[in-house]
Symmetry: C2
Subunit: 186 residues, 2 copies
DNA sequence: GCTATTATTTATCATAGGATAATTTTGCTG
DNA sequence: CAGCAAAATTATCCTATGATAAATAATAGC
C-alpha cells in the first residue's frame, strides 16, 4: 500500500500539504517478532503499515491481552504516547516481516500547528480510530464469543490465515481452548 | 460547569477562536427521561453537559445495552453522525433534568475549515475520547465483573448515587441480578 | 529432513454469571 | 400518604467458558 493511498484514505488534503507531510515520513522494515512499540515507553513515532500484519497487546503477568490487529493501510500508534506523551498500555509486535512508514510525532505536532489541512487530517485520523473502537465495544457487549468470532471472520477473513489462533482467542476475550471448541462446533 | 471550562479542558485556544466557537453554542435544558439523541437518526448537534447526567445506550430488541455515562463537563455526540454523517448506534437519555450547551455540527465543521486552532481543538476532542474508550476496552478484557464494578465505583463514585443499578449492570456487561450478587458479597 | 519447541485440540471437571421467578424495596403520582 | 409500578434482591437451577492436563499437530532451527 502506498503512502499516498494511506494518507488519502484518512482525509483528502491539498498536494502541498501532502508533500509537507510526506517529507517527514520515511520507510523502515523490521522482521517478524520485532517489538515495534513498547508499553512503559513514550513512543516518539507513529507508523503506517505498507506491508505485513501486527498485533497490539497489553502485557500482563502470565497472560498478555491482544486487543488489536493491524493490517496493510492501518495506523500503529501508542495512543497514550501520541495524545498525552505518557507511557502507554501496549506493546506492538510484528506478526510477519513488515514494511512500515514512520512519522515522528514531534514533526507531526509541528505540522498540526502550521497547516490547517494537516490539523484536520489529524482530526480525522483520531475520529476514524474512535469509530472503529466504538463499534468494537458495542459488538463485544452485544455478542457471544461465538458470534464475535463469526463477525471477526467475516470482517477480516485473512486474519485467520495470518495470525496464530491464540492471539485471536485473546482478542475475542476467551481462552485458546474455548476458541478451539467454538471452531469445532461449526 | 461553564462553557469556558469545558472548552479549555479539551484544548487551550486563543480568545478570538474561543469567541468564534462560543458564538455557535447555545444553552438548552431538557427534563429527566428526555431522549436527546436517537439511533437511526443523523444528529445535527453535539452537546456538552453543564449540569446533569446521561446515558448512551444501543437499543436492542428486549435488552438495551448501556455503554456510556456522561456527567458534568463531558461531551455528548453520536460518533457516527459526527464523523460520517451516518445514523448512529446510540440513543442518549437524560437520567436527570439537564442543562446542556448545544453546538451545530455544520457550524463546527465550518470552523474546522477556517480556524486552525479550532481544528486542533477538534482533534484533541476526538483524541481524548479515544483514550477514554481505549482504557475501557483494556480494563474490560482484563478484569472480572466484580473488579470492573469496583473500578467504576472508585473512578466515578457519584454514579451509584445518580444512576439506577440496572443501567450500571448493563454498562458492566452483566445482568442486574448478577450485579446484586456482586454487591452483596462485599 | 530431524528434532525440539510451540500451537492446537481434546477431555474432564469447576465456576462465574445467565435465566427465571418470587419477594421485597423504592419511588412515583394522584 | 395510599396504592401502583418499577427496581432491586434473593433463591434455584442451568450453561458457557475457564482451568488443567494430556495428546496431537505444526513450525522453526539445526
Amino acid at each position: 500500500m502506498t503512502i499516498d493511498e494511506i494518507i488519502d484514505q484518512i482525509y483528502n488534503i491539498p498536494e502541498s500539504s501532502k508533500t509537507a507531510l510526506k517529507e517527514n515520513i520515511s520507510e523502515v522494515a523490521y522482521p517478524k517478532n520485532h517489538i515495534l512499540l513498547k508499553a512503559d515507553k513514550i513512543e516518539a513515532n507513529i507508523y503506517f503499515i505498507k506491508k505485513g500484519i501486527v498485533r497490539a497487546f497489553a502485557p500482563q503477568k502470565e497472560k498478555d491481552i491482544t486487543f488489536w490487529f493491524g493490517e496493510e493501510g492501518e495506523t500503529i500508534l501508542s495512543m497514550k504516547s501520541y495524545v498525552e506523551r505518557k507511557k502507554g498500555y501496549e506493546n506492538v509486535e510484528l506478526l510477519e516481516d513488515c514494511e512500515l512508514y514512520e512519522l515522528k510525532v514531534a514533526h507531526l505536532n509541528n505540522l498540526y500547528n502550521q497547516d490547517i489541512h494537516i490539523a484536520n487530517w489529524g482530526r480525522k485520523l483520531a475520529e476514524k480510530e474512535l469509530l472503529k473502537i466504538e463499534s468494537r465495544v458495542i459488538s463485544s457487549e452485544l455478542l457471544s464469543a461465538k458470534e464475535r468470532y463469526d463477525a471477526l471472520m467475516s470482517n477480516s477473513p485473512s486474519l485467520i490465515q495470518r495470525v496464530p489462533l491464540k492471539y485471536i482467542a485473546s482478542y475475542l476475550g476467551i481462552t485458546p481452548v474455548s476458541l478451539s471448541r467454538i471452531r469445532k462446533e461449526k
